[in-house]
Amino acid sequence: MSATVAPAPPALDVETREALYRSMILLRVFEKRAHDLFLQNLVKGTSHLGLGQEAIAAGFAHAMRPDDWTFATYRGHNHTLARGADPGAVMAELLGRANGVLHGKGGSMHVGDASKGAMGSYAIIGAHLPVAAGAAWSAKLRGTEQVAVCFFGDGTTNIGAFHEALNLASVWKLPAVFVCENNLYMEYTPIASVTAVPNPAADRAAAYGLESWIVDGNDVEACYGAALAAYERARAGRGPALIEAKTYRHGGHSRADPAAYRPKGELEAWLARDPIETYRARLREHGVAQEAIDAFDAAALALVDRATEEAKNGPLPAPESVTTNVWADGGSAWRN
């Protein structure tokens, strides 16, 4: 099945390019730090890092309006931070602290900051696609021209909720943008071995009456361009988009996974296409000084250092909070 390439970005000004880079480098430094903190056993539970997939989070988020909505998966740190969530609060959540963005209730797999449009991370495959469609439906009904953007993986295209959400969004012409981050694996299993088509998302677009867009998920400007085009169509009432971004995760699926199942050389090949390294080079081509880049890197490092301190020094949640916020009244009473 032939998949078309997503619209290219317009000519970008240097501020935009720098902003895209600053976003990516923050995510990269944050995720590396999160990884270090696991190794120190400071991060509780599991965690799924987006190392290598930063261009998608940065590119698609930067094209959003502040009141647009992001729906992410358990691999959601990048997407939450890219919307401007406080890194200290996100890091503190990973450490299970009271100053965590969810006060320790949700943890790594559920991070979000609704005040920034990051509507949460959903950890059961497929579920958040219909939910994102619902947010888009309310934008349409209320005439706000907001867009709901839903990120998910290649493996997610094989579950029923994907099918139902795409059909509904298309039939109702909803302002929803579905972004499939194809990193070649569903957990430990190569996606090609469990999927009937070579492009898990793009080759299904026609089944929902949609154009099939493929974008280089390691090219932040390509992602930004595809996002701009998709959001514009959506805001104009021209319905949803399904975009497949080709990428690769540098680490294992989760902290538990050494990723031994990868063919030799695969990781190296993708590291050579690292979205951040390659974008550094491109920035220099576009006349951004190395010093400026170094300054961005230093700023990101400083931000993450501070975030780490805030997290480490954060208080533990009070046990009583176990029974708060089930209901809108703040409590959890099921009887009088």
């Binding site: 958040h128 939910v131 959400a165 059909n167």
Partner: protein, 325 residues
């Protein structure tokens, strides 16, 4: 006071709230143009238009996901799941997403929505279209669960459910749709979380829900002729549960029966019987006895379905036998 069918009371309750709050919308399969398979949404499309009354594909996960996403972003959706048996095809959205997202976000988002669904047997629809599954929902933290038994309560509790800031699973007793009753004129709201003593009686307390309430009332009439004075409590709301009313009734009579349409194991009655056992232990004169459908899927043939679900006869004879002990 107007006479309404249980069926029409559903539409009346939804209409009252759609009139009152422009953010209330409704979606489901065949609910708009057709007015619903059970005709519980008749007239809503004509009255409120296609922007607020939406027909959907056969996609229950998308229906409830759409309701959830809309509720998170400012609307107050009412979603119909035609038969409560079909909650199983979207159970993840109900139990893992709608119920938990407010808690997981520690209150960042609230999810004010209603899932209305036709529940229970009596129509000879067989095992996949007749289940009483209030207990499925009661077992999930984060869900409010109600099951009215009269047209007045249907309208009033639907209004309260739509106004409630939390997700409410609203069980409509399929078998009661054609039944009629008085419904107060004008705005009518019945708060959630209140049980209703529908018959006073001193000898024993019978806790019933949904379609079992009228049967319990009929059984009480029979028992009265045998000299047994049974109090009937329409539980109405499982979450929040009116424990005060239930426990004081149990303590007062000392003899308690539940009448449950669900199969035997882990029904709402098991929870309430355990609660009574824990908190009224010293006031009970005899075991709490649960009258339920046996632990089998529901058969289709009329004689079999009637043999399976608690009948007036079985309710009355069970209570009489136990009271004679």
């Amino acid at each position: 006071m107007a006479q309404l069918t249980y069926r029409d009371a559903v539409a009346a309750g939804v209409a009252q709230e759609m009139e009152r709050d422009p953010n209330v919308v409704i979606l489901g399969e065949d609910i708009a143009a057709a007015g619903g398979v059970f005709k519980t949404t008749v007239g809503l499309l004509e009255r409120f238009g296609p922007d607020r009354v939406w027909d959907t594909p056969i996609s229950e996960q998308a229906i409830l996901g759409a309701a959830m996403g809309a509720a998170m972003t400012g609307l107050r959706p009412v979603a119909e799941i035609m038969f409560s048996d079909f909650l199983a095809v979207c159970w993840d959205i109900v139990a893992n997403q709608i119920a938990k997202t407010r808690y997981m976000s520690d209150g960042q988002v609230t999810i004010p929505l209603v899932v209305k669904t036709g529940n229970g047997g009596g129509l000879r629809f067989g095992a996949q279209h007749s289940q009483a599954v209030e207990n499925w929902a009661m077992a999930i933290p984060g869900l409010k669960v109600v099951a009215p038994s009269t047209p007045a309560d249907v309208k009033g509790m639907m209004a309260a459910a739509i106004r409630d800031p939390d997700p409410v699973i609203f069980f409509e007793a399929k078998g009661l749709y054609p039944t009629t009753g008085e419904v107060p004129d004008g705005e009518h709201v019945v708060p959630l979380g209140a049980a209703n003593v529908v018959r006073d009686g001193k000898d024993c307390t019978v806790l019933a829900l949904g379609a079992m309430v009228p049967r319990a009332l009929d059984a009480a009439e029979r028992l009265a002729r045998e000299g047994i004075d049974a109090q009937i409590v329409d539980v109405r709301s499982l979450v929040p549960l009116d424990a005060r009313t239930i426990l004081s009734a149990a303590s007062a009579s000392g003899r308690v029966f539940t009448v449950e349409e669900n199969p035997r194991l882990c029904g709402w009655g098991a929870e309430i019987a355990s609660l009574i056992g824990e908190e009224c232990f010293y006031d009970l004169d005899a075991p709490v006895v649960r009258i339920t459908t046996p632990h089998v899927p529901l058969p289709s043939a009329d004689v079999l379905e009637d043999a399976a679900r608690p009948s007036v006869e079985r309710i009355a004879s069970t209570i009489a036998r136990e009271m004679a002990r």
